[in-house]
């Protein structure tokens, strides 16, 4: 459980608050999307979720514990953060060691480390690269490696900053599958993204941030139907919602994927006959 209570934050040398009066509760088993324009404070917010940044005013509590009270390592074991740029974390001589790094830091036993690394390599189709230098992987593979290195220690919360940048369509679909699988294991996945199509396929609880404050926190379907809010945050509609706008009121809800759209249209056509 992550609880954020009237959180204000400003960077040490800056004058203005980057985050203003944020209030949030995120429980286990949720999918949460965070969207907002460049510089609106999304990355700053998620850095509070494992104690990398501490509130200037207000509180952040992880499973009831104030982030000021324990080390980042303590919270990271429960909250895994995957950052935007793989170049900022890859350093090991082999792909295997890159995944094992965090497990060693958290003090897992040798046997468990081996098991977890092997699982992560297989799960992300990286086994063939295990003895290679991670620097030689392609951009998309590096991103997958970073996700693997976090999932390997099995945190309860997984936070992904811009996971779809530079990923081909196949990998995006795979990522959606992985996220859905994690949810069935009662994990929580928080995704920060500018990719409306990706967010739409996830159908998450959506949090919109503009200028360091939460503008809207609610069901993704109702938010994507609200033109004024989307305009305020500079977000476009997913194509399936545009389709719904065109067909309204012939269909009552925007379809969540192409298959549902297809069956809705088929039903309409049958009705016309």
């Amino acid at each position: 459980m992550i609880e954020v209570e009237s959180l204000y934050f400003k960077y040490p040398l800056a004058n203005d608050y980057v985050l203003k009066d944020i209030n949030l509760k995120i429980g286990l088993g949720e999918v949460v999307g965070i969207m907002g324009g460049n510089g609106s404070g999304k990355t700053t917010l998620i850095k509070h979720f494992n104690g990398l940044l501490k509130p200037t005013k207000g509180f952040v509590r992880i499973f009831g514990k104030d982030t000021r009270e324990e080390s980042v390592a303590y919270f990271s074991k429960k909250v895994g953060l995957v950052f935007q740029n793989p170049g900022h974390q890859i350093f090991s001589d082999t792909v295997w060691n890159e995944i094992a790094f965090a497990l060693k830091n958290f003090g897992f036993e040798e046997e468990i480390i081996n098991k977890r690394v092997k699982w992560a390599l297989e799960f992300f189709n990286l086994t063939q690269y295990k003895d290679m230098s991670p620097l030689l992987l392609s951009g998309g593979e590096k991103k997958r490696l970073c996700l693997a290195s976090v999932l390997a220690w099995n945190p309860d919360f997984i936070i992904l900053d811009e996971p779809t940048v530079g990923q081909d369509f196949l990998q995006k679909e795979k990522l959606i599958e992985i996220i859905k699988m994690l949810i069935t294991q009662n994990k929580t996945v928080i995704v920060v993204s500018h990719d409306v199509e990706f967010i739409w396929l996830l159908q998450p609880r959506l949090i919109l941030i503009s200028n360091g404050t939460i503008v809207k926190d609610g069901d993704c379907k109702s938010i994507f139907k609200d033109n004024s809010i989307l305009e305020k945050c500079g977000i476009t509609k997913p194509q399936l919602v545009e389709l719904y706008d065109e067909l309204y009121p012939l269909i009552e809800q925007p379809p969540v994927d192409v298959i549902e759209a297809y069956s809705m249209i088929l039903k309409l056509l049958r009705g016309l006959k």
Binding site: A73, Q89, F91
Partner: protein, 244 residues
Amino acid sequence: MFWLAEGLVYRRQESIIHSLDPRVKLIISFSLFILSLFSSTIFEFIILLSAIFLLGVLSKVLRRMIKTITFSLTFVIMIFVINLLVGYDLIFSIVISLRFIAIISSSSIFFLTSSPDELDLVMRSLHLPYDLIFAFVTAVRFVPVILLDAIQIIDSQRSRGLEIEKGNIFKRIRNYIPILIPLIVQSIIRSEELAEAMESRAYGFSKKRTSYYTLHFKMKDYLILCLHLMLVVLFILLVYFLHL
């Protein structure tokens, strides 16, 4: 820890000192630097450091100047202790430490108040070869970028359970490996990208470079330069010749 080094980075600001011709700023900074090298009593350093801090106040960068000094404090303490251990007396060790602080803070006056563009213009007015100027200015320009990288890298590795301040001295040095390797790799990638971007925009094509901005002394520059030189001469006379 790395944000302390922000004290070295230029920020756009308005002040009397910022608006001076960069050549004047260089002369002020450099003369104080030279005086710091040759001064040898605590009294002299008190005068010098007061002058430097006064300049810091006038240019509104005092806070960041003090950060730079805090950042270098580890070295200052090391210098002080080593001098004592090697057998120099207390006064001498204090003088050496003060000299180090004066050198750092006097040179930081120029870098805190002059943009990389101004640095470029000053070095050109000294007729240095342009490749050298370019390399130096780019290095200075990249400091804030590399600092941001360093912050991101530290955040990434701390999120993976790295505890930099944990363990004995050898463990602590080893803790920096996961930070230094990505930092170096990122810098190499960035410099390669920069070289390619510059070549595709015809860097080095024309032999004779022109500049959009040129440097001109204004009344203010002459006044402040004269005032500064008078004070420097006065200081030299009083201290070195009258042994005040």
